[in-house]
C-alpha cells in the first residue's frame, strides 16, 4: 500500500456545472419549494382580483352616473341580478375586494411560514453537512486554506447557496409566472394596448443587463481598493511600534489618504453612472404610463375600453410589471454571488477524505508503545520533502527527545505517528503493524498529544479535560488534573471544575493552560504520549510547574518530546537531532555533547532565557 501523492487543487468547475449542481440541490427540496411557488402564484391572482374588482367598482358607478359610459363588464358575465340597485352592486364589489384582500393576507402569511420552513431546513442541512465534512478532512486541507476562509464557508457561504434556491430558482419561477399572469390578464383586456404599453419593457431589460455588466468591473475594483485600504490600516496598527519608532506617522497618514482617495474617485465614477442610469430607466417606465394616457385615453373615449376595469387596472399593473422586471436585475446579481459561494461550498463537500480506514483495518485496543519509522519520506508539497528517509526505532516506555532548527521536521515526525498525514514513502509502525492498517480512531485514542499552543475550548474546565472522553466521571477528571499538577489551581477558581474557560483560555495563564492540556491527554491514559514543544510559550517560573507535570505524565508511557531546551532534553533517555529532515545525531545528552556536533552547537545557541529558566528549578531547591 503505497501512499498516494497529495491531490492537486482541483480545476475550478465551470458556471454551468455549478448551476446544474445547484439546481439538483434545489430539487432535493422540491416538495416545499413547489408549495411556495403555488402559494406565490395564488397571491398574484388574488392581487389581480382585488385590483380588477376595484376597477369594476368604478365602472359600476360610471354606468349609473355618466351618460354614454360603457357598461360594467362583470368577469365571465357572472353578475348580480340587474334589478338590484347600483348601491347593492357597489356593496357586492366592495365585499369581493375585501374578501380578496383578506384571502391574500392569509395566503401571504402562510407563504411566509412555508418559505421560512424551507429556507431554514436547507440552511440547517447544508451547515451540518459542511461542518461534519470539515471535521473529517485531513490537515492538508487546513494547511491549504486560512481559517477565516473556512469559517466563512460554513457561516456565510452556506447562506449564499441557500439564497440561490429561494433567491434565484424560486424567484425566477415566481417572476416568470407572475409576469405571465399579468400579461395574460392585460392581453385579455386589450391586445394592442398591452403591446403598446409594454413596448419599452425589453428596453428596460436590455438596459438593466447592460448596466450591470458595465458597472460590475467598477464594483469589483472598488471592493479591491477598499480591501487595500483596510489592509493598510491593519498593517499600520499591527506595526505601529515600527511606525512610531521611525517617526513615520506623516508618511503613513499620506499613504492611507491616498488609498482612501482612490476609493472615493472610484465610487464617484460609479455614482455618475448610477445616477444617469436609474433616472433613464425611471423615464422608460414613465413612457409606458404616457402611452397609457394617450392611447388608453383614446380607447376609453372611443368606448373600446372601460375606464375602471380597463384603464385604472392597467395603470396599476404597469407599476407592478416594472417592479417585477427590476427584480430580475437583482436576481442576476444573486446568481453571481451564489456561484462564487457554491464553488467554495462544493469544494469542501467534494474534498476527498485522504485518510480513511482500510477495509480490513484492525482494531488497536491498547498499544504496547513500540514505535518504528522505516525509511519514511514525507513532504507537504510534492517535490519538497520535509523528511528524508527517516528510520528510527523507539522502544516501549522509552523517552525520546527531538531537537533541531525551525523547519527541521520535528513536528512533522510526530504528526505521522498520529496519522495526521501519511508518508509519501516508507512506513510508520506501532507494535510492528503499519499505522495505516489500524482503525484511525483506535490509533489516535492510543496517543496523548500536547501541542505547543494548548488549544482550549470555551467550555468548563472539566469538559476541557474530558475532551477526548466526554462521559468521563468527575473522579477520573480530578485524578488526571492531580497528575498534571493542575488540581490546585483549578480548586482555587471561583467555580472549580465547573469554571468556564474564556475563548482560547484567555482567563488562564500560559502554564495553567498547558497543564490542562496535559490533563486532557492523561485522562485517556494513553500508552503513547507526544509533547510538541509544550513549554516553548511559557514563562520560566511556570515552566517549572509544567515540568513536574510532564515528569509524572511520562511515567510508564512511550514519550516523544520535541523541545529546544537542553534542560528538557537532558531528562530523556535518548535525543534525536534532526537537520533538514534527516536524523543527524542520536544518543544520550552526554554522548552528544561529547561528540561536539550539531547538538553541541544547538545547545550553545540556547538563549539566555532558556538557561535562566533551567536555573529556576534547582536554585529553588538548593537555596
Amino acid at each position: 500500500m503505497t501512499a498516494s501523492p497529495p491531490p492537486d487543487e482541483p480545476a475550478s468547475p465551470t458556471s454551468s456545472q455549478l448551476l446544474w449542481r445547484l439546481c439538483s440541490l434545489a430539487w432535493r427540496f422540491r416538495g416545499l419549494a413547489g408549495l411556495v411557488l403555488a402559494l406565490n402564484v395564488t397571491l398574484v391572482v388574488l392581487n389581480l382580483g382585488s385590483l380588477s374588482f376595484t376597477g369594476l367598482g368604478i365602472d359600476v358607478l360610471r354606468e349609473t352616473l355618466v351618460s354614454g359610459a360603457t357598461a360594467a363588464q362583470w368577469p365571465g358575465g357572472v353578475q348580480p341580478p340587474t334589478d338590484w340597485s347600483p348601491r347593492a352592486h357597489l356593496v357586492v364589489v366592495a365585499a369581493i375586494v375585501l374578501a380578496c384582500s383578506a384571502l391574500s393576507a392569509v395566503t401571504k402569511y402562510v407563504t411566509a411560514l412555508v418559505s421560512a420552513l424551507l429556507s431554514q431546513r436547507m440552511l440547517v442541512q447544508l451547515r451540518a453537512e459542511i461542518y461534519d465534512k470539515l471535521q473529517r478532512l485531513s490537515f492538508r486541507f487546513f494547511d491549504r486554506h486560512d481559517s477565516s476562509g473556512i469559517i466563512g464557508r460554513v457561516a456565510a457561504d452556506a447562506q449564499a447557496v441557500r439564497s440561490f434556491i429561494d433567491g434565484v430558482v424560486l424567484k425566477v419561477l415566481t417572476v416568470v409566472l407572475s409576469l405571465a399572469v399579468y400579461m395574460g390578464y392585460m392581453l385579455a383586456l386589450h391586445v394592442p394596448l398591452t403591446l403598446a404599453c409594454l413596448c419599452t419593457s425589453p428596453l428596460l431589460w436590455i438596459g438593466a443587463v447592460w448596466f450591470s455588466r458595465s458597472v460590475r468591473p467598477l464594483y469589483l475594483r472598488s471592493s479591491e481598493l477598499s480591501d487595500r485600504m483596510i489592509s493598510a490600516l491593519a498593517e499600520n496598527v499591527q506595526g505601529i511600534q515600527v511606525v512610531k519608532g521611525f517617526a513615520r506617522e506623516p508618511e503613513e497618514i499620506a499613504r492611507f489618504a491616498e488609498a482612501n482617495r482612490r476609493i472615493k474617485d472610484q465610487k464617484y465614477e460609479i455614482f455618475r453612472r448610477l445616477s444617469t442610469y436609474q433616472p433613464m430607466m425611471g423615464f422608460l417606465t414613465q413612457v409606458n404610463q404616457l402611452i397609457l394616457i394617450g392611447y388608453g385615453g383614446y380607447l376609453v373615449i372611443r368606448g373600446e375600453l372601460p375606464l375602471g376595469a380597463g384603464m385604472f387596472v392597467f395603470a396599476n399593473l404597469m407599476s407592478e410589471f416594472a417592479g417585477q422586471v427590476g427584480q430580475i436585475v437583482n436576481i442576476a446579481n444573486t446568481i453571481q454571488s451564489s456561484l462564487t459561494a457554491a464553488e467554495r461550498v462544493f469544494e469542501v463537500l467534494d474534498a476527498p477524505l485522504e485518510l480513511t480506514d482500510a477495509a480490513d483495518a484492525v482494531p488497536l485496543p491498547r498499544a504496547k508503545g513500540h514505535i518504528r519509522f522505516e525509511h519514511v519520506t514525507f513532504g507537504y508539497h510534492p517535490g519538497q520533502p520535509v523528511l528524508h528517509d527517516v528510520t528510527l526505532d523507539i522502544a516501549p516506555g522509552e523517552r525520546i527527545g527531538f531537537v533541531g532548527e525551525t523547519g527541521a521536521g520535528k513536528t512533522t515526525l510526530l504528526g505521522l505517528v498520529s496519522r495526521f498525514y501519511d508518508p509519501n514513502a516508507g512506513r510508520v509502525l506501532i507494535d510492528g503493524v503499519d499505522v495505516r492498517q489500524y482503525r484511525l480512531n483506535d490509533l489516535r485514542r492510543n496517543i496523548g498529544l500536547v501541542f505547543q499552543e494548548s488549544f482550549l475550548f470555551s467550555n468548563t474546565v472539566a469538559a476541557n479535560i474530558a475532551f477526548g472522553r466526554p462521559n468521563a466521571s468527575l473522579d477520573d477528571i480530578t485524578q488526571a488534573a492531580q497528575l498534571s499538577a493542575a488540581h490546585e489551581f483549578i480548586a482555587e477558581l471561583p467555580a472549580g471544575y465547573d469554571n468556564l474557560i474564556g475563548e482560547h483560555g484567555s482567563n488562564l495563564s500560559g502554564g495553567q493552560r498547558q497543564r490542562l492540556a496535559i490533563a486532557r491527554a492523561l485522562l485517556l491514559d494513553p500508552p503513547i504520549l507526544m509533547l510538541d514543544d509544550a513549554t516553548a510559550a511559557v514563562d520560566p517560573e511556570t515552566e517549572h510547574e509544567i515540568r513536574t507535570a510532564i515528569e509524572r505524565a511520562m511515567a510508564g508511557r512511550t514519550t516523544l518530546i520535541v523541545s529546544s531546551r537542553v534542560s528538557t532534553l537532558r531528562r530523556t533517555d535518548r535525543i534525536c537531532v534532526l537537520k533538514q529532515g534527516r536524523i543527524v545525531e542520536l544518543g544520550t545528552h552526554d554522548e552528544l555533547i561529547e561528540q561536539r556536533g550539531e547538538y553541541f552547537r544547538l545547545a550553545r545557541l540556547q538563549t539566555v532565557e532558556d538557561v535562566l529558566s533551567d536555573d529556576v528549578a534547582p536554585s529553588e531547591t538548593t537555596r
Partner: protein, 601 residues
C-alpha cells in the same frame, strides 16, 4: 490569526456593542457638521429633495387629472395636452432624480472619506498603551461597518425621509382638496398603521437580537472547531462536536424562523390594512357619488384611489429609514467615541525638538507599570555613555522590554526621569527623538511592498545608492540580490515571502539607513541555521558600532561585546558591569554563565 480575529469580532461576549441607539440630537448635529465642507452640495440637495417631493405626487395628480377629466369627458385634445404635460413633468422628475441621487451619494462618500482620514490620523497620535489595549479587529470594524452605517445615515435617511414626508403631505393636501370627509377615513387608519409598525419593530428587533446572538454562537464555535481541528482529530471528538454543532444550528434556525414569522405576519397585516381602506373607500365614496348623482363623484373617487397609494407607500419606507437612522446613530456614537478618545498623554505644549544628540542616556529612579497598580520596573537607575552598548539580560517579564519602551518614549514612567544628553525625555518631542533612533524589534515587522521599500521605511527620501551602501556595509547585499527580483522583490504580507534571516537583515538595514544616534534592538530568539546566524552576528556588530545601543540580549556572544550588562530580575537591576566584571563578581550572572558553559560546552 485572521480566524482568531474573526472570533473576537463575532464572539458574543465581546459584543457589548449595540446595533442601534435612540436618536440623539448631539450626534445628529455633529453629523450635520461633518457635511460643513460640502455646504453648497448639501443645500442644493435640500432644494432638489423639496422639488422632488412635489414632483412625485404631481405626476400621479396629472395622471388622475387626465383619466377623470378629458378621458371621462371624451375630450381627445385634452387627453393629448394631458399627455404632453405628463411627459414634460416626467422628464423633469428624472433630471431632478439624477441630481438628487448623485449629490446625495457623493456627499455621503465625501463625508465617509473625510471621517476615515480623520480617524486614521487620530490613531497615529495615540500612544502605544492604546494599541496595547485595543484589538485590531475593533479598530477595523470602526473603519468598515460603523463608518458604513454612518454613510447610509448621511446619504439616505435625511433625504429619503424628506421626500417621503413631502409626498405624504402633498397627497394629503390633494385628498383634502377633493373630499375632506373621505380623507378623515384615511386619517383614521393612520394610527392603526403607526401602532402596527411600532409593535412589530419592537418584536422584530427583539427577535433579531436573539437571532444574531445565536449566530455569533455558531461562528464562535465554528472558529474554535477550525482552529482546534488538530486537537479534535487527535482526540477523536468529531461525532460529539458534530452533534453539538447540529444543536446550535437548529437553535439558530428556530430564532431565524421566529424572525421570518414576525415578518410574515407584519407585512400582510400592513397590506391588508391598505386594501381594507380601498374597499371602504369604494363603498363610502361610491355611496356619496350615487347620492350626489353626478360624474364628479366618480372622478374624485378615482383620484382618491391613486392618491391613497401615494399616501400609504411612504409609511413602510419611513419605518425602514427610521431603523437605519437608529443604526447610524449607534455607528456614529462608536466612531465619535474613538475620534474623541484623547491620548492618555501627549508631548507637553512646551516640548522642544531634540537637538542633534550625542547619545548619553540616563535613567533616574524610574518606576513604571503598564497598569499603575502592577509595577514592572521599580527604581531603575543607570547611565549609558555615548557610543556604549548596553545589554539587558533577564527572564521573560523581568522588565527588559519595558526599559526599551520607555526609552523610545512609547510609554511614560510613573516616577523618576529619563535623560537624553541631559534633557528630560518628557520635554523633548517624541517625533524628534524617533528621528534619531533606530529600532529593530523581535517580530521583524515588515510592511507590504518591496525589500527596498522596507529598507527605505526609515528614510523615505533615501536614494538607491544609499540603500546599496547600507546593504554593502552589513555585508548582506548578496542575500537580497539572490531574491527573484533582487531588492525589488515584494516581501508579501508581513514579510512572509522572505526567510527569517532575510527579514531580520531587512530590519537591520532599515535601522542602519536611519543612521540613528540611539539604537534599540530586541534580539531574535528563534534558531536559524548557523551560517545565517553567524552573518547576523557580524551585521549586528556593524550596526551597533559608533552609536549608543540598547540590546535585549538573548545570545551570550552579544552580551560579551556589551560595554554594560544590566541583569534584571522582577523589575530591578540586580547586577551591572561588563561581562568580565560580572564573572569576577560571582553573582547571578556568573552562575548563569557557568551553567551555560556546562550545558553548551
Amino acid at each position: 490569526m485572521s480566524g482568531i480575529d474573526m472570533l473576537t469580532r463575532l464572539g458574543a461576549k465581546d459584543e457589548d456593542e449595540h446595533r442601534q441607539r435612540p436618536l440623539d440630537f448631539r450626534l445628529i448635529t455633529r453629523l450635520m457638521q461633518s457635511t460643513r465642507r460640502y455646504v453648497a452640495a448639501r443645500n442644493w440637495l435640500i432644494v432638489v429633495v423639496i422639488l422632488r417631493s412635489i414632483q412625485l405626487p404631481g405626476l400621479t395628480w396629472v395622471l388622475t387629472l387626465v383619466i377623470t377629466g378629458p378621458v371621462a369627458a371624451g375630450d381627445i385634445a385634452g387627453v393629448i395636452w394631458g399627455a404632453v404635460a405628463f411627459a414634460l413633468l416626467a422628464a423633469s422628475t428624472q433630471v431632478v432624480m439624477h441630481f438628487r441621487q448623485r449629490l446625495a451619494l457623493q456627499l455621503g462618500e465625501a463625508v465617509v472619506h473625510d471621517l476615515r482620514n480623520e480617524l486614521f490620523a487620530h490613531l497615529q497620535t495615540m500612544p502605544m498603551s492604546f494599541f496595547h489595549r485595543t484589538k485590531v479587529g475593533r479598530i477595523i470594524s470602526r473603519m468598515i461597518s460603523d463608518i458604513e452605517d454612518v454613510r447610509v445615515g448621511v446619504q439616505e435617511v435625511l433625504y429619503v425621509s424628506l421626500v417621503q414626508f413631502g409626498q405624504m403631505g402633498m397627497a394629503a393636501a390633494c385628498m383634502i382638496w377633493y373630499d375632506w370627509q373621505l380623507f378623515l377615513i384615511v386619517l383614521a387608519l393612520a394610527p392603526v398603521f403607526w401602532l402596527l409598525n411600532r409593535h412589530f419593530q419592537g418584536v422584530l428587533s427583539e427577535r433579531l437580537r436573539a437571532m444574531r446572538e445565536s449566530f455569533s454562537r455558531i461562528t464562535a464555535t465554528l472558529a474554535e472547531s477550525v482552529l482546534g481541528i488538530r486537537v479534535t482529530q487527535s482526540y477523536v471528538r468529531q461525532d460529539e462536536n458534530a452533534r453539538m454543532f447540529a444543536e446550535l444550528v437548529a437553535d439558530h434556525s428556530r430564532y431565524n424562523s421566529s424572525v421570518l414569522q414576525a415578518h410574515g405576519l407584519f407585512i400582510p397585516l400592513l397590506e391588508f390594512n391598505s386594501q381594507l381602506f380601498i374597499s371602504v373607500l369604494l363603498l363610502v365614496g361610491g355611496w356619496k357619488a350615487l347620492d350626489l348623482g353626478s360624474a364628479d363623484g366618480v372622478g374624485n373617487l378615482i383620484s382618491f384611489l391613486f392618491m391613497a397609494n401615494l399616501f400609504f407607500a411612504p409609511i413602510s419606507v419611513l419605518g425602514n429609514q427610521y431603523s437605519q437612522a437608529l443604526t447610524a446613530m449607534a455607528g456614529a456614537e462608536r466612531l465619535f467615541a474613538l475620534l474623541d478618545a484623547a491620548p492618555e498623554w501627549t508631548d507637553p505644549p512646551d516640548a522642544v525638538p531634540a537637538p542633534p544628540l550625542t547619545g548619553r542616556v540616563e535613567f533616574e529612579h524610574v518606576t513604571f507599570g503598564y497598569s499603575p497598580a502592577v509595577p514592572v520596573l521599580s527604581e531603575v537607575s543607570f547611565v549609558a555613555e555615548p557610543g556604549q552598548t548596553v545589554a539587558l539580560v533577564g527572564h521573560t517579564g523581568s522588565g527588559k522590554t519595558s526599559i526599551i519602551n520607555l526609552l523610545a518614549k512609547f510609554y511614560l514612567p510613573q516616577s523618576g526621569r529619563i535623560l537624553l544628553d541631559g534633557f528630560d525625555l518628557h520635554q523633548l518631542t517624541g517625533e524628534s527623538i524617533h528621528r534619531q533612533m533606530g529600532l529593530v524589534l523581535q517580530q521583524n515587522f515588515l510592511f507590504q511592498g518591496t525589500v527596498a521599500d522596507n529598507i527605505r521605511f526609515a528614510k523615505p527620501q533615501a536614494t538607491d545608492a544609499e540603500i546599496f551602501d547600507v546593504c554593502h556595509r552589513l555585508d548582506c547585499l548578496d542575500l537580497f540580490v539572490a531574491l527573484p527580483q533582487g531588492l525589488q522583490t515584494p516581501v508579501g504580507e508581513r514579510g512572509a515571502q522572505l526567510s527569517l534571516g532575510q527579514r531580520q537583515m531587512v530590519c537591520f538595514a532599515r535601522a542602519l539607513l536611519a543612521d540613528p544616534r540611539l539604537l534599540i534592538l530586541d534580539e531574535a530568539t528563534s534558531s536559524i541555521d548557523s551560517r545565517t546566524e553567524h552573518r547576523l552576528q557580524q551585521a549586528l556588530r556593524v550596526l551597533i558600532r559608533g552609536r549608543t545601543s540598547f540590546v535585549v540580549a538573548h545570545r551570550l556572544s552579544t552580551i560579551r561585546q556589551a560595554d554594560l550588562v544590566l541583569v534584571l530580575d522582577h523589575g530591578r537591576i540586580v547586577e551591572r558591569g561588563t561581562h568580565t566584571e560580572l564573572l569576577r563578581h560571582r553573582g547571578v550572572y556568573a552562575h548563569l554563565y557557568e551553567r551555560f558553559v556546562q550545558t553548551g560546552g
